[in-house]
Symmetry: C2
Subunit: 505 residues, 2 copies
């Protein structure tokens, strides 16, 4: 590398490190707001988050960033950079080009609103009061519509939002993937409904003391290889994982007293996200590549741990005894096979994060359809509860009795995360396809789980996926790991095999 290129790279790295620093601070301010910050400080806190988000945005779209990305994109300079360096430049350039024309004041106002409206959502959910939340959500949608114009529209307006979480994802692609998936899921769900086999799930809903739930959750995270010296587990209304820096990747969960599995599966889920972030190559630290390749790939890791491992028969043959020890009274007389059947019982239900693996994707399709309506058809926010309920009736055959169990259940929209939900089903698809390869390359997969030796699985995922962070695209990762592009049939196959056996179809 020529000296002047190296000098420029050092200055560029300082800018990137500064952006990472802002991101860490904003992440902590958010985490704190969701895990126990005092209520009376929330309003000023939202302004602080907005101010810092605005500053970070200013750096990402600054003339200096423009200058650096232009310089490092010159062919004679690119030749001197490593592949990773070129990817860093391309990533910054994409963000710069996309956002540079948004006035940073507007972005700051939006960030204040998004932070504040998450607090308003928490209250609205608690009080089952959509009306109090509606004005905030309307403003967020208006901001997103405004930003879509700045970001630029290639296909449909909603495509612009999908691309934020999954590069190059479009309505056309999602429609195709979801149609293919649905065409295979619907007959399966119907067959299950018609099946006389109805697993008993009552015992999952005794009273399970929080302290014991917490202990078991910590135990499971330890088993997965989650590094507590580089993370911590807290409580929040809606579980989440957040990577503040590679040595500080936190997760939260929510303990439901009358539901023993909710916190277990959310810990496995968020733990999967966290394993990813904890194991990104340390050389990427301080660059925009020190994060997941996309939200779809991120969700593939959370869903793989939560479902493909966490809801497997083998997993519970190993760990059910531990769970029973934590709840000897509640689970007395419940056999492991009963438990396995219960946690995989398929039922059309209201709450996405508590849904079974099969109908889960229908919950996602509902949200995806609604977001399309909002951004491509102009659906008004005030009509969301009604449309939500109608879609649940259409796709799941049930109508939520309250907004708390309906349109208010998810945190995402309150924080402006429109376009995110598709990532969950994409994640399921990626996960099933990755699992297929994992089983081939680690033939002792089941034996490892049966022996409670999950670390080789974590290590395989680290070597194949985690370590790359965002230095590969989702398409590159899935090709490199599995040898073919994303194919929803793996998920359909996986679900068919699992549920045909479970429901004796």
């Amino acid at each position: 590398m020529e000296q002047h290129v190296q000098d420029e790279w050092e200055k560029f790295s300082e800018l990137l490190a500064k952006i990472s620093g802002y991101s860490e601070a904003i992440g902590l301010l958010h985490w704190d707001l969701r895990t126990g910050a005092p209520r009376k400080g929330a309003e000023i806190r939202s302004e602080t988050i907005g101010m810092l988000s605005g500053e970070m945005f200013r750096l990402e779209t600054s003339p200096l960033m423009g200058k650096f990305t232009e310089f490092f994109s010159r062919p004679e300079v690119m030749k001197q950079l490593t592949a990773v360096q070129n990817t860093i430049v391309a990533d910054c350039r994409k963000e710069y080009d996309r956002s540079k024309s948004i006035p940073s004041k507007r972005y700051e106002e939006y960030s204040v609103l998004a932070a504040h409206s998450q607090t308003m959502w928490e209250e609205a959910k608690e009080n089952n009061d959509f009306a109090s939340f509606e004005p905030y959500l309307s403003k967020i949608v208006a901001f997103k519509q405004e930003f879509i114009d700045y970001w630029g529209v290639k296909g449909t307006r909603y495509d612009t939002l999908l691309d934020m979480y999954e590069p190059d994802l479009t309505v056309e692609k999602v429609d195709d993937l979801f149609n293919r998936l649905r065409s295979r899921l619907v007959p399966l769900v119907e067959a299950i409904s018609a099946s006389p086999h109805k697993p008993d799930t009552k015992f999952l809903h005794a009273i399970f003391e929080k302290e014991q739930q917490q202990k078991f959750g910590l135990f499971v995270l330890e088993q997965m290889g989650y590094d507590f010296a580089a993370g911590r587990l807290d409580e929040s209304v809606h579980p989440f994982a957040t990577g503040l820096n590679p040595g500080d990747v936190r997760i939260t969960t929510n303990y439901l007293l009358d539901n023993v599995t909710s916190a277990v599966f959310s810990s496995l889920h968020e733990g999967g996200h966290a394993l990813y972030e904890q194991n990104i190559n340390k050389e990427l630290v301080g660059t925009p590549l020190a994060q997941g390749a996309s939200m779809g790939i991120h969700e593939s890791q959370s869903r793989l741990w939560e479902n493909m491992i966490g809801r497997s028969r083998t997993f519970w043959h190993r760990y059910y005894g531990d769970l029973q020890q934590h709840f000897p009274q509640q689970l007395a007389g419940v056999e492991v096979e009963d438990f396995y059947q219960a946690i995989n019982s398929v039922a059309n239900s209201f709450i996405r994060i508590e849904a079974d693996e099969l109908t889960y994707n229908l919950h996602i399709i509902v949200r995806y359809e609604i977001e399309k309506l909002i951004f491509n058809e102009g659906l008004a926010v005030k009509d969301l509860p009604q449309v939500w309920n109608a879609k649940y009736q259409e796709y799941l055959g049930i109508t939520p009795p309250t907004d708390e169990l309906g349109v208010l259940q998810d945190v995402h929209w309150s924080g402006g995360d429109f376009g995110y939900f598709a990532s969950y089903s994409l994640g399921n698809m990626y996960a099933a396809q990755i699992l297929n390869t994992l089983r081939k390359e680690l033939p002792e997969f089941d034996e490892l789980i049966a022996a409670g030796n999950l670390l080789p699985i974590k290590e395989w995922l680290t070597a194949k996926i985690y370590v790359y962070g965002k230095s590969l695209t989702p398409a590159q990762i899935i090709e490199q790991v599995t040898g073919e592009p994303l194919n929803p049939d793996y998920l359909a196959d996986y679900l068919e095999v699992k549920y045909t056996e479970l429901y004796k179809l």
Copy 2:
């Protein structure tokens, strides 16, 4: 106010709000690092704190700040501002003039170091290993010496540091105050040593479960009027209070299993700081006046609650029954008067924060003398343990057996807080003088405490002190509240009366 002055004021207010935002973020990053951030994230975290501190420093010393403070200091503009506005300008101008020539890069490096070295101090203290901490402390001292040159020296070099925490405080003034105080304390301590009365303190050191200590601490904070909707209580190695914003003023404590009073008194102490910050006039929010008048005044409030209220006989006549209920076995058969005598037992001991009210001031004088030696006489950091031990022998007649019980006990130096310690004894002096007025203006003072009705006391302090924040100087506050300047005789009188009775002298 002329329109253009008003326009400028609005822009100035935006700058101030931005500085407050940085301060909140930095405060939270620090709080989190001390209360449970994962170890492996601490190093990058320190850099993030440093980066943001550098940004904040850049704003405080920016040409824009120079321009505003110059403009608002013009006589024709000053006339148009309120008294509070003029104080804001003066405060910003003082900081700007003092620090503008420090290169912001240097300040940022210092901030990274200070954050990191607090973590190193925690480890060094845990391992009783001064040598591992010495290089960090040496660098901090070197930075302070460098900054003193930038800040400017009027009297002695150490005066410059004293002035940071207490405006216009000098070695000359502190020497005088401390000499006057010591001349009255030494005979009192001697008389106590000679007294045959030796209160039994053994029962304070049974095993006291943490959960119960925590419950009692929360109860006491509630009694004081600490607003939990605008704060929270956590644990840290060294207790502290931090005002992130006026609706978010947090305190920490440290539970010692074999010491029932340590956490109680630290909660009262930090609670006193927090009451101050929670009750500052909301109109000062977003300005540099939304903090305590000085660290001396701040400590007067923590020490007043901790000692003058919290170690009073009346307080325990009301609350001892509650404490006993939390520890029925450990305190069985211990009468309230025994307890009162025990918590006020005077003994030369190693740990400042666990010292009695009387010898506490000697602990401060030791630190003050050592800081003077470092900054005015060039005492080397490597010699600190030896000098520390010698001073303890000289002032308290005991030599710490380990550095953990000696020079490593306090967090302050690790974070660069040289010049702070004097504030504690100043605080004791201010507190005794304020208490004297408080008793006159609220003659039912003892009855209120006896009835467990502490809120009128909080309200009196709010109206007289808290509400003003930093809009009055310490000199103005003490004059306005008590009608005279700071006078150490009030503290000496208070201690003489209390201990003459206690020790039947």
